[in-house]
Symmetry: C2
Subunit: 396 residues, 2 copies
């Protein structure tokens, strides 16, 4: 399962230097405020090496110096932070329901964003529209004067691990689209790194890379929207996304939870998506595909039918989380996607099911936290931007 962030297999002195540079950078990212001496201790490098590399990173606008440490005795160290003022990354999501764009700084903070509820039509027209919006975004005063590290685009389908090609987007009817090429034809877009990523992988990466607090060893991000996808990330300094042979890692929406169950649009029966997903809920509640699911559900309030459908779907989501946990055993499960807008009536039963059906193996171990992202409008776009940063940090 190839990925762009693992250290390469063989290397020369340049490689060694860039390895150490990006390790130091990632050490600061994961522990803001460390001093040069702290970094030396953590990485095992010498003070001299760290000093030299930090010098370069300061000059290049990746790091900035902060306050002095205040721990008695001896000369205080100078805190180092990621420089949030000089660079930015662009991220975009081509979603089933519209286009979303963000520009972030190195801390993952969103400086500017755009959101258009315009369902994509053809790949070409979508690329053209995205190019327009990119232009608009780049003119935003919030990112004026910043160097742009590149652009990441998240798409609702598997991306080939061998090349940045969208293999299949069932909900858009797109097959084997070289979306970055289309986009490049429409705009002399930002210089730097361009990359294409599956929506769930992008979101997972962003949540992991910019995690707020003590960084987990690994996470699985479950994207529950029109369909159900999943992205996995692990790795300390070089986060890794397993993609699988065909980029199909995390197609958990099509794991079978109910053999012989309802027919799924994938051709099988009883897939998870037939039990919990945007389209399954629309079907169950007879909501038109053009209407907003969350709006329709709130409008219908406390109808018994609605309650029951949400509870059933919630149980299925809980089961899905459990099975995922048994297969991947991540340090943390993060649940996001547009279905989270349905609120506690869906996620409540899911979490209860998850807790209630822990088996002895899991009970014996420490409980695995589940985090719910209520508003994931820009999660995937920001995650794509995070991948740009990660790649820029190793290339540097």
């Amino acid at each position: 399962m190839p990925n762009s962030f693992t250290p390469q297999a063989a290397g020369d002195l340049n490689y060694l230097k860039s390895l150490n540079r990006s390790t130091i950078l990632s050490t600061v990212r994961r522990n803001p405020g460390l001093s040069r001496a702290d970094i030396a201790l953590q990485t095992g490098l010498t003070k001299a090496t760290v000093g030299g590399v930090v010098q370069i990173l300061l000059e290049q606008g990746w790091l900035r110096e902060g306050e002095l440490h205040a721990r008695g005795g001896g000369r205080p160290g100078r805190a180092l932070h990621l420089d949030d003022a000089h660079h930015c990354m662009l991220g975009a999501e081509v979603g089933v329901k519209g286009l979303r764009l963000v520009a972030c700084n190195l801390l993952g903070e969103i400086l500017a964003s755009l959101h258009r509820e315009e369902p994509p039509t053809t790949p070409e027209a979508t690329a053209r529209r995205l190019a327009e919006l990119l232009g608009e975004l780049r003119d935003d005063p919030a990112i004026a004067g910043r160097s742009c590290l590149g652009l990441g685009v998240a798409v609702p389908g598997p991306v080939s691990p061998q090349a940045p090609i969208l293999r299949l987007a069932p909900n858009l009817g797109w097959v084997d689209i070289d979306f970055l090429a289309l986009l490049r034809a429409e705009c002399r877009g930002p210089e730097g790194i361009w990359l294409l990523e599956n929506e769930a992988n992008a979101a997972a990466f962003g949540e992991f890379y910019f995690f707020d607090g003590a960084p987990p060893e690994s996470i699985a991000y479950i994207s529950a929207g029109s369909g159900i996808g999943c992205g996995v990330v692990s790795g300390d300094h070089f986060p890794v996304i397993p993609r699988g042979r065909q980029g199909l890692v995390g197609e958990i929406g099509h794991t079978v939870l109910q053999p012989g169950g309802a027919l799924c649009h994938c051709g099988n029966r009883g897939c998870a998506e037939t039990l919990v997903s945007g389209w399954a809920l629309r079907e169950a509640l007879k909501i038109d595909s053009r209407a907003s699911l969350s709006a329709s559900v709130s409008a219908r309030g406390d109808e018994a039918e609605v309650q029951a459908a949400l509870a059933r779907a919630g149980d299925a989501l809980g089961l899905l989380l459990l099975n995922l946990h048994h297969t991947l055993n991540p340090s943390m499960l993060i649940v996001g996607g547009s279905l989270m807008r349905l609120g506690a009536r869906l996620i409540g039963p899911a979490l209860s099911y998850f807790d209630a059906h822990q088996n002895d193996l899991l009970r014996q171990a420490q409980a695995v936290p589940v985090k719910v992202v209520e508003d994931s409008t820009f999660t995937a776009a920001r995650g794509a931007a995070a991948q740009v940063m990660a790649r820029a940090a190793v290339a540097l």
Copy 2:
């Protein structure tokens, strides 16, 4: 998901050297017969660097020179192979039904083996017995004069990713056992690397590391025996086993295939193990736990009850493979474990189910090969030995 084989985060010149050494070694392992010039081309290192490193590896007994290449024009290159004559690794499996030991050379060829059908009792007694057998194995003339790189022990339960501790072996009734410490107390065993690994992970690693033919990018090994486990391996030069936060990656026996189904010994209902596993089949066919499952089944021949039970279990196994495939999308699925001794009546339906229920996503992609290991007596033990070699190759 930490592991011992990924390149470390930061490094000095020693690290660079050892990185290149092990990369060259692994290049030869995966492409036997390459010349120095071929290696330089593949790895991107210069001829001079490769030459120097190969020199060392020849002297240390890791590589040997072979025949001359015969491709017209120019001086022919000298083929390089792993040296199968100087080193060996020991591997052992503490299985539910008995102890298995192997000694292999660097090609993964089994030089000597021992197999005792003595179900383990207490950890201490088992360690004592294993120490005896290790002594016996080391006296085998087939490994006389070889340097021993170390010992790997495979156990039927999750191993903590943080330390070589067996967390739980449900089928042995063991909890939190430091088996290597017990073993060390019983024998001044082989010098070198000692490691403990889950049985399915070990088997997966061995099948990947010593794969016969063009090496796949990643594999998932399904170990179908008393219980159902799974190990995953990927990575070109540095194979990685995801272990998860608690070492529970691959506990697919306890993914739920039948919500509300039969009660599993794990405390849940409808786990895969209630449908396909040694104990589920014994239960279904009322076979005593002391009798051999495969012998009893063959003895009962073509009884309709037996046929039906095997077909049902086979279907469940097929479904398990499909779900695993949707979650992990490996380049290859390998199925082994003692249940494979039941032959085509079990694995046949499993493969048919797997083929028949491929959904559109999978059908659009190239079919994923499924390999069946009929006799996996020493698979896990050999895999543990393979891990010793992998670790020795990076430490060197």
